[in-house]
């Protein structure tokens, strides 16, 4: 997986910086809490949520377990419907294929629908290097592109920007890319959206080539599905003469009927709506309606390596709804950029180290970018047990072991710099199997708490360098429980707390 943010520091350092950026934290907090509240309401509206979630999980699991068969079936049905299927083993190959296809049309511009897969492979940069301009058309992606920035959320990529910043970016940059921002642009969302509409419309109306991803591909019929809000997706999918869709091989569902599950769970999980404003489906090409040429580029880029891991495989069920980001206490404070990939938040913490391997410092640190509170698992509409995969990957980083890289079985060495964690793991295992020692340790920590440093000395330093150590409670939970009979006596109050 290319598209590692160049020069990206490992998660703890990046997160530490983000945590001290108060604007960023304010924007993020507002956004995640708003979406979180609305989502919970949208979910309670459907009484069969648990059944839909289970069905979604099983459909995806079944598909992954027979992915070879469904890929071949998809290829046949897309081809029969008038499309052409290409296979790309990695990011470079995918970029080469798309570049070749665009060049074959004789065009030097493409309009793009927001797509994680094309960000993952760094398509815009690859096209630019070949003299082809790729214009992002989703409002948030436009903000990110004009701001020469990186997306920080799956669904609301410019979540880290407030309206004042957006106004300034538009006023400064739009003229570089096409139609300038209107004179006297203010920072009201309606005016900013209007400026974007005018700027982008000019590009849509002349575009000959569109590039998209897809939310789902139906093996049985060869149908692709894009779910969106603004209509920029529809623009890219219907106005150009040539459409190139770049999609990860895991995005398949077996049958048309399966969409009934995901078209109910995806909008509610992502934007907390009963249904998103626009959903488009297309099956190959249609005479005199929409693009006359359709290419589907299927990308692996680390997905088959992920598939080979029986625990980690479940990450491929992800439908990119972003619900897990919005409930994650770590994401809320650290922000999306700290994850160093296009996949931020809890899903990024398990997907990136699997797609890219754990050789780099940032990828080795991602499985630790979590408090293991489990909120991500609770909201996930396809029930990915993110904490389970995190723990599994931590073990891989700290202790090494078997993995698959580029299709080959390898045995990984323990990652450098994780000796402390290996020791901690051993210690934790010992302490948890010796309850007496655990109790003593906790009491000792309580009694000496005024003496505790803000960072840990010795091997713990690396761990605490980027976190502020939590204050140790005045009384260990275990003692409090015994003393108060589980809170039933003494009003449950702890003595000595402020």
């Amino acid at each position: 997986m290319s598209g590692t943010f160049v020069g990206m520091p490992a998660f703890p350092k990046a997160a530490h910086e983000a945590v001290h950026n108060t604007t960023l934290r304010g924007n993020l907090r507002h956004a995640t809490h708003t979406i979180r509240g609305k989502r919970a309401k949208a979910v309670t509206e459907v009484s069969d949520w648990a059944e839909l979630r289970e069905a979604g999980k099983r459909i995806k699991d079944h598909t992954l377990r027979h992915l070879d068969r469904y890929l071949v079936q998809l290829e046949e049905s897309v081809t029969a419907a008038g499309g052409t299927v290409h296979w790309a083993a990695d990011a470079d190959e995918a970029n080469r294929i798309v570049t070749y296809l665009v060049k074959a049309t004789g065009e030097s511009e493409v309009v793009k629908v927001k797509s994680m897969a094309t960000q993952e492979i760094g398509l815009n940069e690859a096209l630019e290097a070949e003299g082809i301009h790729a214009y992002e058309t989703d409002l948030a992606e436009l903000i990110v592109q004009l701001g020469k920035d990186r997306p920080s959320h799956i669904l609301v990529p410019a979540i880290h920007r407030n309206r004042g910043e957006i106004r300034d970016i538009f006023a400064r940059e739009m003229s570089e890319w096409g139609r300038p921002a209107p004179e006297g642009l203010t920072d009201t969302p309606a005016e900013l959206a209007e400026a974007a509409r005018l700027h982008l419309r000019e590009k849509f109306l002349r575009a000959k080539v569109g590039v998209s991803g897809a939310n789902f591909m139906v093996a049985e019929t060869g149908t692709l599905v894009v779910v969106e809000s603004e209509g920029n997706g529809r623009m890219c999918l219907t106005l150009p003469e040539t459409l190139i869709s770049v999609v990860g091989i895991e995005k398949i569902v077996p049958t048309w009927q399966d969409l009934e599950v995901f078209l109910q769970t995806l909008p509610r999980s992502s934007t907390a709506e009963r249904m998103n404003p626009y959903t488009s489906t297309w099956t190959g090409t249609t005479d005199e309606d929409g693009p006359s040429t359709f290419h589907l580029v299927l990308i692996d880029n680390g997905r088959t390596d992920t598939l080979a891991d029986e625990v980690g495989r479940q990450a491929l069920r992800c439908i990119r709804c972003s619900a897990c980001l919005n409930v994650c206490p770590v994401y809320e404070r650290a922000g999306g950029h700290a994850y160093g990939s296009v996949y931020p938040g809890p899903i990024g913490a398990i997907l990136s180290p699997q797609l890219r391997g754990t050789a780099s410092e940032i990828d080795a640190s991602l499985p630790y970018a979590s408090s293991l509170c489990g909120a991500c698992y609770e909201v996930c509409p396809v029930a990915i047990d993110i904490p389970e995969v995190l723990v599994h990957l931590r073990e891989r980083v700290a202790q090494g072991g078997p993995a698959t890289e580029k299709g080959n079985k390898v045995v990984l060495k323990p990652a450098k710099g994780h000796a402390a964690e290996r020791a901690a793991m051993r210690a934790a295992r010992w302490a948890l199997s010796h309850p007496g020692a655990l109790r003593t340790g906790q009491r000792l920590a309580s009694r000496t708490r005024r003496l505790h440093p803000r960072t840990l000395p010795g091997p713990g330093k690396a761990w605490s360098a980027s976190r502020d150590l939590p204050a140790v409670p005045a009384e260990p939970f275990r003692d409090w429980w015994q003393r108060t009979n589980g809170g039933r006596t003494n009003g449950g109050k702890q003595e000595g707390t402020k």
Binding site: D68, A89, V156, P157, L200, L239, L259, P277, D289, A308
Partner: protein, 217 residues
């Protein structure tokens, strides 16, 4: 080796743990979820559609077959439209009340030409009550996908109750996957700027849905 063979080979090796007698698709997916939510009589389903459309900021109107031409003419006039895009199979009588200039849905029209048209009037394939969604499938009374996208004002006629289904599962059963489908729930909207909802970054900023009774025969 081609990348196709390479990828399929990797997939097969990755799935070495899956036994050949793995549960087949038909049994692998429990479908214990509902086909529709709640018990409603037909009128209530139509009422729910109207409510949910309005909740997503579509403007909802009701009329019967006889009043349809007048309703459409009134909406076009209120919007100040002097030109209207007409799909090839749109019933002629729907536009009998307006003198807005008809623009035909032609293959040769450029997107720029479509951008000059004030409004578009279409029928639909069906509407989904629980989600407040209308679905277009490119049939002759709905036209090419782009005509409901580029103009800023879309009037969509839904025949009630026969074009109304309750739920997403019921909709998929009735739709033809080989046709290009556009599902529309309210007008174009974005929440990308501090999560404030703003209508219409790209698609039509005004969506009017006319629920017409007595048109099913």
């Amino acid at each position: 080796m081609s990348s196709r063979e390479l990828i399929l080979g990797r997939v097969r090796r990755a799935l070495a743990d899956v036994r050949p007698d793995d549960t087949p698709y038909e049994q692998a997916v429990p479908r214990g979820y509902l086909r529709e939510h709640g018990d409603r009589i037909v009128e209530e389903t139509v009422e729910l559609l109207a409510e949910n459309l309005a909740d997503y900021r579509a403007l909802v109107h009701r009329t019967d077959t006889d009043g349809l031409a007048g309703t459409i003419a009134g909406l076009l006039a209120a919007h100040g439209s002097s030109s209207v895009l007409v799909p090839p199979g749109l019933p002629q009588e729907w536009l009998a009340g307006t003198d807005a200039a008809r623009v035909a849905d032609r293959v040769e029209s450029t997107p720029h030409e479509l951008d000059q048209v004030d409004s578009v009037v279409t029928a639909c394939a069906l509407a989904i009550a629980e989600t407040g969604t209308i679905v277009l499938d490119g049939s002759p009374d709905q036209g090419r996908r782009r005509i409901t996208l580029v103009p800023d004002h879309h009037i969509c006629v839904v025949r009630v109750p026969d074009q109304v289904v309750s739920s997403v599962p019921q909709a998929l059963e009735r739709l033809d996957p080989t046709r290009p489908l556009t599902w529309i729930s309210g007008p174009s909207a974005t929440s990308d700027i501090e999560l404030d909802r703003v209508e219409g970054v790209h698609g039509p900023r005004t969506l009017e849905v006319v629920l017409v009774t007595g048109g099913g025969d």
